[in-house]
C-alpha cells in the first residue's frame, strides 16, 4: 500500500497483515551476533597470504570489486540491528572495556591491560602497575592478540591425527591413570617449558606426591641453564640475579642483550637513568663486548666485537684488572690495546654504581666471574641483588631433557604429558626426541597449534590461549600476576591446569577454581577475597616479589684453570633466538613475521649472519646460499652480511624452517635446530661453510644503510654537547621564511617528539601501531617489491668501519608537516590538514593517484597496491579495531597520530566541558615504547611534555631544510665515550675514510 496511508492508519492490525512476507526476508538476513548493531564491524588483514599467488589475487579482488561496486553506486544492503535479550552488565554497546592480565612468553611475565570490544580482545597494552611492564610491552606481547584469532590454531582434540573429543581423551587417560595409581606412577612423565606459575608448580608437586614414580621434566630451547649454573659455581646455590640498571652509572655487558629482554623493565630502568633530567643530561656509560650485533651493542658508547671463546678470557683479564686472584692469562685479545684497562678503571672509579652483566649463552664460569667482579666492586645490594630463582624448578634443563630422552629410549616412559612447547621441533638434534617419542606408550601434547610435536603424539589437545584461560605467572622480580581470561576458549581449548587437574583426579575442577583455591590456600587471610579482587584489578599481588637473599662469592673457582683457549683457525657457529619469532613459537604470527628484524631489516626469513671480512674471504654476498656442515649435520642457508659481527663467526637464528607451524610459518627460513647439539646449545666450533652458488631471495625493508652525509640522525658526544649545545641541531629547527599562512595557535596543536637517545630500536612501536590501526600484512613477495605497510618504520643506519660500525635507529612515522607537500598535490582533497595540525588521510575520498607519496620527502605513506586487508577470515575480522576504517585496495594510508584516540578523548572531554590534559591522549606507539622515547601532546599547552622535549637544544626536524615544518621532531642522540678511549674512536673515524 502507498506509504501515506500507512501513516494515517492505526498501526496494529494492518501492519501485521503485511508483515508476514517481511518475516521471511528477515530470516534471510545474515545472522548477526550482538555486535551486529555495530555498523563499524571491521574486516581485517590477511596473514594467510605469504605469497600472493593467482588464486589469492582472484579471491582478494573478488571482495574488493564488490566494495568497488558499493563505492561507486549500488543500492546499500539492508542492515538489521540486533539488540541483546538481556544486556550484559557494564557493557555499553560500542564502548571498549579493559581488563588486567599477564603473559609469560617463555621468560618473565609482563602485566597487560587488554582492550575488549563487544567481548572481543582487540588490543594489548602494558599494565603501568605491573613491575615487569610499567605500561610498556615488547613486540611479542603486542602481537600475542593475533595468535588468539589465528585461524590456523589447533581447533579439535586429535587422536592419532583423527578428530576426537575431549571426553574420548578423558576416557583414555583415566584408564591410564588407574593403572598408574597401581604402580605409583612409574613411567609417568610430564614435560613442561620453564614454569613460573606458582599454581602450576603446586599442581605438579601434588602430582609427584600422588605418583611417587612420576617425574617432572622442564625444557625450553632458550633457557637460562648457564646463568643458574654460574650462580651455583659462584655462590654454591642457584640464585636469580636481579639487576638495578637505574642505579648503575657504568655498565659492562659481556655478550648480554639485556635491553632486548626478557620483558621491557631493564630497558626502561637503564635508559630512564641515562636520561635523568634532559636539561643537564648525565648519561652513564655502556661498554658492550659481544659476538653478534644486538640492540644493546648498538646502544653502547663503546662496542667491541669478540669471538665467543674470547669472552671468558676477557672476563678473566677484567677480574684480574679489578684485583681478583684469577688463575692464568692475562691480556685480552680482540680488544684494542688499553680498551679493557680503561674500562676496568672506569668500573673501579664507579665502584658501587657499576655493573657487569653476562649473556645467557656464555658458559657458567663467565657468569661466576661477573658475580665475583660485581661483589669486588661492591655493587651487590646497589646495582644487583640476588633472590631465589623465579622458575619453580631451577634444575638444569639440558640435563632434565637428557634423562627424559634416555628413559624414553630405554622404554621406561609409558605416559608422557607434554604441556606446551614443541620438543620434537626444538630439542637438540642429538636428543632424537621425535624418534624416541615412538617408544612412549601414551603421549599427549597440549598445544596452541597442531605442530611438529602434535603430529608424533597420540593425543593433541588444543590449548587455551592466555587470553582464554586462568593462571598466574611471575615477573622478573618474582611478582605474581594473575592471568585473567577475556574470552571463553574459541575452540574449546584446555589449559595446563585443567589437564593436570584431570591427572590429579579432580575431574570437576576448572582452571579458575584451581588458581583461586591455590591462592586461598597460600594466603588464608580473612581478606583473601579482597586481596584477590585487588590483585585482579591491579594485575599483580602487592609485595609478592621474591625476597632478597644474602649471597657471598666462593672464590675457589677463580683459581680453577681457564677453559682451553678456542682454536682461532676454526669457524665459530653461534645460535641465537630470532629477534621476531623467538624460538619458533611465533612462527605463525604474521605481524611478527613481517616485522623487520631490528638489525638486518629482514622479514619472513632467517639467515646465516657473517661478518664483512668473512664474506670477503669466502666470496659471499647477501642472498648467496651456503652449505653449513657441523658435526655431520648439513644445512642450507642464505647469507646475510652483518657489519660488526665477530670475525670467523657464523650466527644462525632459531625458530624458522617450521613444517607444521601453519599457513604463515610453514616453509619460511631454515631450521637451525638441526645443527644444535646438547653439548653445544649456543656455540660450537669446527663449522664448515661451502658456497653452493644458488641464490635465496630474501625480503628486506631497507636496502641502503649509509646516511649519504644527509644527517637524518644527529649524534653528538656529551663533551661536545656541553661545549656547544646548539651545534648538533644546527639550523635544523631555525624558522625559515614562509609564504603559507601560519597555523592557528588556539585549540589543540598535536605534535610528537622522538628521542633518539632513548630509542633502542626494538620495534615495539611498529607492532603496536599495526595492532591499533588494522594495518594489513602483505607477504614476503610484496615486501620484496617494497610494499610493506607499516605506518611507523624503524630506520637503521651504519656509520664507521664495517668491522666496528656505529649503529643508529630512527623511528619514522608521518611527520604531520604544517606545510605538508602531500596536501597540495592531491586532486580530490583526500589528504588535508585539520585545525589541530593533523595531516589527515580520508580513505573514502582517496582515488589513489599516489602523487602524495611522491611528494612526501619522508616516504611514510603506504599504498594498498592490492586488496591486502583480509575480508574473508571471520576470526581475523574479530580482531580488528572497530574505531579504525579498514582500507580497501587502491587507497593511500599513513600514520594518523592515532586520530581515533584523539577524537574519542576530545569527545569525552567536551562532554564535561573540560580541556584535554597532557597525557589524556596517548598514541599506540608511545604507549608501547619500553623506553618512553616517544612523547605526544599539545604544543599549545606550554607545560606539556612534548613542549618540554622540543625545548631541548637537542631538538631537530628531520630534513628541516625542506621547510615542511614537521610536527614530529627528534632529539639528537647523545653518546658518552670514555675520554681515555676517544683515540680509538678517532682511529676508526679515520678508517671511515
Amino acid at each position: 500500500m502507498p506509504p501515506t496511508d500507512v501513516r494515517e492508519l492505526p498501526f496494529e492490525q494492518d501492519i501485521l497483515s503485511e508483515s508476514a512476507p517481511l518475516w521471511r526476508s528477515l530470516e534471510e538476513l545474515p545472522e548477526r551476533t550482538a555486535s551486529g548493531s555495530d555498523r563499524r564491524e571491521p574486516s581485517s588483514a590477511s596473514p594467510d597470504c605469504p605469497t600472493l599467488d593467482r588464486r589469492q589475487f582472484l579471491r582478494l579482488t573478488a571482495a574488493s570489486l564488490s566494495v568497488a561496486g558499493a563505492g561507486a553506486c549500488s543500492r546499500a544492503p539492508q542492515q538489521s540491528i540486533v539488540p541483546y535479550v538481556h544486556a550484559p552488565p557494564q557493557l555499553v554497546a560500542g564502548d571498549p572495556l579493559y581488563f588486567a592480565t599477564a603473559v609469560n612468553l617463555g621468560g618473565a611475565a609482563q602485566g597487560l591491560l587488554v582492550k575488549s570490544n563487544y567481548g572481543r580482545p582487540t588490543k594489548i597494552e602494558g599494565n603501568p602497575s605491573h613491575p615487569g611492564s610499567l605500561g610498556a610491552t615488547d613486540i611479542f606481547a603486542q602481537a600475542a592478540v593475533l595468535d588468539l584469532w589465528d585461524p590456523d590454531r589447533a581447533q579439535a582434540v586429535l587422536h592419532q591425527g583423527q578428530v576426537s573429543t575431549w571426553d574420548g581423551f578423558v576416557e583414555a587417560l583415566s584408564a591410564r591413570i588407574s593403572r598408574l595409581s597401581q604402580n605409583g606412577g612409574n613411567g609417568l612423565r610430564v614435560l613442561t617449558e620453564s614454569v613460573t606459575s606458582p599454581t602450576l608448580a603446586g599442581q605438579l608437586h601434588a602430582l609427584l606426591e600422588r605418583f611417587p614414580g612420576a617425574r617432572w621434566h622442564q625444557y625450553q630451547p632458550i633457557n637460562r641453564d648457564h646463568a643458574y649454573e654460574g650462580s651455583r659455581l659462584a655462590f654454591g646455590e642457584v640464585l636469580e640475579a636481579r639487576y638495578h640498571f637505574d642505579q648503575a652509572r657504568v655498565v659492562l655487558s659481556l655478550d648480554s642483550d639485556f635491553l632486548a629482554g626478557p620483558g621491557v623493565r631493564y630497558a626502561r630502568d637503564f635508559v630512564g637513568a641515562r636520561r635523568a633530567g634532559d636539561a643537564h643530561p648525565d648519561p652513564g656509560r655502556l661498554y658492550v663486548i659481544e659476538c653478534t650485533p644486538t640492540l644493546t651493542g648498538s646502544f653502547a658508547d663503546h662496542r667491541y666485537a669478540a669471538r665467543f671463546g674470547q669472552i671468558e678470557t676477557i672476563a678473566r683479564a677484567l677480574a684480574q684488572a679489578i684485583g681478583l686472584p684469577v688463575a692464568g692469562v692475562l691480556d685480552a685479545p680482540a680488544l684494542p690495546s688499553g680498551a679493557l684497562a680503561a674500562c676496568a678503571r672506569d668500573l673501579k672509579r664507579n665502584a658501587g654504581h657499576a655493573l657487569v652483566v653476562v649473556g645467557d649463552a656464555q658458559p657458567p664460569v663467565v657468569h661466576a666471574l661477573a658475580h665475583a667482579i660485581n661483589e669486588a666492586l661492591g655493587n651487590v645490594g646497589r646495582t644487583v641483588n640476588y633472590t631465589a630463582p623465579i622458575l619453580a624448578l631451577a634444575e638444569p634443563q639440558g640435563e632434565s631433557l637428557r634423562q627424559l630422552t634416555e628413559d624414553m629410549a630405554a622404554g621406561q616412559v609409558d605416559t608422557l604429558i607434554v604441556l606446551g612447547g614443541n620438543p620434537v621441533y626444538n630439542a637438540p638434534a642429538d636428543r632424537l626426541f621425535g624418534q624416541r617419542l615412538a617408544k612412549v606408550g601414551l603421549s599427549v601434547h597440549l598445544s596452541l597449534y597442531d605442530d611438529e610435536t602434535s603430529a608424533l603424539c597420540n593425543w593433541q589437545i588444543p590449548e587455551a590461549h592466555f587470553l582464554e584461560s586462568w593462571s598466574d605467572t611471575r615477573a622478573f622480580d618474582g611478582t605474581v600476576a594473575i592471568q585473567q581470561p577475556l574470552i571463553a576458549p574459541l575452540y574449546g581449548g584446555k589449559s595446563a591446569h585443567e589437564l593436570l587437574a584431570l591427572l590429579l583426579g579432580q575431574t570437576a575442577s576448572n582452571d579458575y577454581q584451581t588458581v583461586r583455591d591455590f591462592w586461598t590456600k597460600v594466603r588464608p587471610q580473612a581478606d583473601a577475597e579482597a586481596l584477590w579482587e585487588q590483585a585482579l584489578h591491579r594485575g599483580a599481588f602487592e609485595g609478592s616479589q621474591l625476597p632478597v637473599r644474602p649471597a657471598s662469592v666462593r672464590s675457589d673457582f677463580l683459581r680453577a684453570p681457564a677453559s682451553p683457549i678456542p682454536d682461532d683457525t676454526q669457524l665459530d657457529l653461534l645460535f641465537a633466538p630470532d629477534p621476531t619469532v623467538w624460538d619458533g613459537r611465533f612462527a605463525n604470527n604474521a605481524w611478527l613475521q613481517e616485522l623487520p628484524k631490528p638489525l638486518t631489516k629482514l622479514t619472513w626469513d632467517n639467515a646465516a649472519l657473517v661478518s664483512p671480512k668473512l664474506a670477503q674471504q669466502l666470496g659471499l654476498a647477501n642472498e648467496d646460499q651456503i652449505e653449513l656442515r657441523y658435526r655431520g649435520a648439513v644445512l642450507l642457508a642464505p647469507v646475510w652480511i652483518v657489519p660488526g659481527q665477530a670475525e670467523a663467526t657464523v650466527t644462525v637464528t632459531l625458530g624458522y624452517g617450521r613444517s607444521r607451524a601453519g599457513r604463515i610459518g610453514n616453509g619460511a627460513g631454515f631450521d637451525a635446530y638441526l645443527l644444535r647439539r646438547s653439548d653445544a646449545l649456543w656455540h660450537g666450533q669446527g663449522l664448515q661453510v661451502r658456497k653452493t652458488g644458488a641464490k635465496v631471495p630474501l625480503a628486506t625493508t631497507q636496502h641502503h644503510f649509509s646516511m649519504e652525509g644527509r644527517r637524518p640522525i644527529r649524534v653528538t658526544t656529551l663533551d661536545q654537547f656541553r661545549r656547544d649545545p646548539a651545534l648538533v641541531a644546527g639550523d635544523a629547527h631555525r624558522p625559515r621564511p614562509n609564504m603559507y599562512e601560519a597555523v592557528r595557535d588556539e585549540g589543540y596543536a598535536w605534535a610528537m617528539s622522538i628521542n633518539l637517545d632513548a630509542c633502542i630500536g626494538c620495534s615495539a612501536c611498529t607492532i603496536a601501531c599495526q595492532a591499533e590501526n588494522n594495518i594489513p600484512i602483505v607477504g614476503k613477495s610484496e615486501v620484496r617489491r617494497g610494499r610493506e605497510m607499516h605506518w611507523i618504520r624503524v630506520d637503521r643506519y651504519y656509520e664507521g668501519a664495517a668491522d666496528q660500525p656505529r649503529t643508529y635507529f630512527q623511528p619514522v612515522p608521518c611527520m604531520h608537516c604544517e606545510d605538508a607537500p602531500c596536501e597540495v598535490v592531491c586532486p580530490v582533497e583526500a589528504t588535508v590538514h585539520d585545525s589541530e595540525g593533523l595531516n589527515l588521510q580520508v580513505y573514502n575520498r582517496c582515488i589513489g593517484t599516489r602523487f602524495c607519496s611522491n611528494n612526501c620527502p619522508y616516504k611514510v605513506r603506504r599504498f594498498n597496491f592490492l586488496q591486502y586487508a583480509d575480508e574473508d577470515t571471520e576470526s581475523l575480522k574479530a580482531q580488528r579495531n572497530p574505531e579504525v576504517t579498514v582500507r580497501m585496495r587502491g587507497v593511500m594510508e599513513k600514520c594518523t597520530y592515532c586520530v581515533q584516540r584523539i577524537t574519542n578523548a576530545r569527545i569525552e572531554a567536551e562532554k564535561d566541558n573540560r580541556h584535554l590534559a597532557d597525557g589524556d591522549v596517548v598514541t599506540a606507539c608511545q604507549a608501547a615504547c619500553p623506553t618512553e622515547a616517544i612523547v605526544f601532546g599539545d604544543l599549545n599547552d606550554p607545560h606539556s611534555q612534548v613542549n618540554r622535549a622540543k625545548a631541548s637544544p637537542l631538538n631537530y626536524a628531520l630534513l628541516g631544510e625542506l621547510n615542511t615544518r614537521p610536527r614530529t621532531t627528534y632529539l639528537a642522540k647523545l653518546t658518552n665515550p670514555n675520554p681515555e678511549l676517544l683515540q680509538t674512536r678517532v682511529d676508526d673515524a679515520k678508517a671511515d675514510g
Binding site: R850, S853, N854, K859, F863
Partner: protein, 443 residues
C-alpha cells in the same frame, strides 16, 4: 612544392578516394591489421585484469609509485602533440605544402590523445572514481582541489581532445562528401552521407568551413602549448629532486614537438611507401619535417644541459645527487641510451643526403620514439627511486603487465591508424585541389 603538374582535380580525387573506395584490400593491410588486432586484445585484456586486481600487478612500490603508467601517458600525449600543431601552424602561416601531411597527422593526434587520456585513469588506485576530478554538484558538497596540477591536467587534456577532434573532422567533411558522391555502393553512400553532414559544396559551406578552420587553428596553438606545459607542471609542482624545476613546461613542449614530429615522420614514410603517394608527399615534405626534428632535438639537448647546470647551480644536495645518480646510478644505461637516441642520432639530420633518404629518416625517427619513451622513464623513475631519505630508497622492476599495457597501447594505436587509412582519405582531397589551383594560378 608537390609535383601535381600531371594531375587534374579529377585525377586527384580519383587517386585518393580510390584508396578508400577500392573493393579489395591490400595484403600488407590485412596482415598488419590482424597483428594490431591481437595487440589490441592484449591491451584491453591487461586493462580488464588491472581493474579487476589493482595497480599492484605492475612493478610499482614505495618510493616508485609512478613508472610505466605515467611514462606511457607522457609519451603518448607528446606524440599527440604534432598533428594538430603542424596543420594549425601551417594553416595559420599559409604554408600550402603542409596540406598533404596535415590530415593523417591530425588523425595521429586524435588517436594518440585518446590513448594518452586512458592512462591517467588506468593509473588510479580506484579508477571507478576518476570523475571526482570534475567539478560537479554532489552530495558530498566537495570540489576537486584546484591547487593540484592533476586537476589542471584533467581539463587541459579534455579541451585539447575536443579541439583536435573538431579540427580533424572539420577538415574531413568535404572529403566525406566527395566519397559519398563517388561511392559505388548504396551502403557506402549512406555512411559517408551521414558523415558529410549534408555538405553540398556551396560557396557558403566553403566560406564557413574556412573561417571555422582558421578559428580552431588559432585556438589550437595556445592549447597545444598549454597541454604540455601542464604535463610539465605535473612534475615541476612536486618537490621530488629532478622534477622540481621551472624549466619543465617549455622543456616538455619541446620534447612533445620532437617526439610528435618523429612519430609523424615514421608514419609518413610508411604511408608514402604503402600507397605510392610520392606525388603528394614529396621528398621536400620529409626534408622539412627532418629539419623541424633536428631543431627540436637541439632544443631538447639544450634543456638536458640546462638541467645539469641548474642542479649544480642550485647547490641543492638532493638535486645534485639525482643528476649524478641518473648518469652513474643503477639506471645509468637508460640515461645513456636515451642520450644516444635523442641527442646523438638526430645530428645525422644535418646531412642533406640523410634528409632525402626516407628509410634512414624512418630509422632515426624510430630511434627518437624509443629515446623519448626512455627519457620519460628516466625522468620519472630515477627521480623517485632515490629521493631524500636513504632509508626509503628503492628500485623499480617492470612486470609482464607493465609491458603488456605498453605494447598493447602501441598495437591499439596501429589498429586505429589502419582503420583510418582504409576508410578515410589519408590526404585532404579538398586541400590538394586548392593546391593545384594555386599552382595553376602561379603558372
Amino acid at each position: 612544392m608537390s609535383s601535381l603538374g600531371a594531375h587534374s582535380y579529377g585525377s586527384i580525387s580519383q587517386k585518393i578516394s580510390g584508396i578508400v573506395l577500392t573493393a579489395g584490400t591490400a595484403r600488407w593491410w590485412v596482415i598488419s591489421f590482424a597483428a594490431c588486432s591481437l595487440l589490441t586484445l592484449v591491451f584491453f585484456g591487461a586493462i580488464g585484469y588491472l581493474f579487476y586486481t589493482g595497480v599492484g600487478i605492475w612493478g610499482l612500490n614505495v618510493p616508485v609509485v609512478w613508472a610505466f603508467d605515467i611514462t606511457n601517458y607522457v609519451w603518448w600525449i607528446a606524440i599527440a602533440m604534432s598533428g594538430t600543431f603542424i596543420s594549425a601552424v601551417l594553416h595559420l602561416t599559409r604554408q600550402p605544402w603542409g596540406a598533404s601531411i596535415s590530415r593523417f597527422a591530425e588523425a595521429m593526434t586524435v588517436f594518440a590523445l585518446a590513448i594518452a587520456g586512458l592512462f591517467p585513469i588506468l593509473h588510479l588506485g580506484r579508477p571507478w572514481f576518476f570523475y571526482w576530478l570534475t567539478p560537479y554538484p554532489n552530495v558530498m558538497a566537495l570540489w576537486p582541489q584546484w591547487r593540484s596540477p592533476l586537476v589542471w591536467d584533467f581539463f587541459a587534456i579534455l579541451a585539447y581532445l575536443l579541439l583536435s577532434i573538431l579540427f580533424w573532422y572539420l577538415g574531413l567533411i568535404p572529403d566525406f562528401a566527395t566519397l559519398r558522391d563517388r561511392a559505388p555502393g548504396r551502403g557506402a553512400q549512406i555512411t559517408y552521407g551521414l558523415l558529410a553532414l549534408g555538405w553540398r559544396g556551396e560557396a557558403r559551406h566553403w566560406q564557413r568551413r574556412q573561417s571555422a578552420q582558421l578559428l580552431l587553428a588559432g585556438l589550437a596553438v595556445p592549447l597545444v602549448v598549454s597541454v604540455h606545459s601542464v604535463v610539465g607542471l605535473d612534475f615541476a609542482a612536486g618537490n621530488t629532486p629532478g622534477w622540481h624545476s621551472t624549466i619543465f613546461p617549455p622543456f616538455f613542449v619541446a620534447g612533445a614537438m620532437f617526439s610528435g614530429f618523429a612519430m609523424a615522420m615514421t608514419i609518413v614514410v610508411l604511408l608514402r611507401r604503402a600507397f605510392q603517394l610520392g606525388d603528394y608527399i614529396t621528398v621536400r615534405h620529409l626534408d622539412n619535417l627532418a629539419k623541424l626534428i633536428l631543431a627540436m632535438g637541439l632544443v631538447l639537448a639544450y634543456s638536458y644541459v640546462m638541467e645539469l647546470f641548474m642542479a649544480w647551480y642550485s647547490a641543492d644536495r638532493y638535486e645534485i645527487y639525482t643528476a649524478l645518480n641518473r648518469m652513474r646510478g643503477p639506471y645509468a644505461p637508460v640515461y645513456w641510451s636515451l642520450i644516444f637516441c635523442v641527442v646523438v642520432a638526430p645530428q645525422a639530420l644535418w646531412s642533406r643526403r640523410v634528409r632525402h633518404s626516407p628509410w634512414v629518416l624512418f630509422g632515426i625517427s624510430i630511434l627518437i620514439n624509443v629515446g623519448m619513451w626512455l627519457e620519460r622513464f628516466m625522468l620519472i623513475v630515477t627521480s623517485e627511486h632515490r629521493d631524500f631519505l636513504p632509508s626509503a630508497w628503492g628500485m623499480f622492476y617492470p612486470t609482464v603487465w607493465d609491458w603488456a599495457i605498453l605494447v598493447g597501447s602501441i598495437g591499439f594505436f596501429g589498429w586505429l591508424l589502419l582503420l583510418f587509412v582504409r576508410f578515410v582519405p589519408v590526404i585532404s582531397m579538398a586541400e590538394m585541389r586548392e593546391l593545384l589551383d594555386h599552382q595553376r594560378g602561379a603558372s
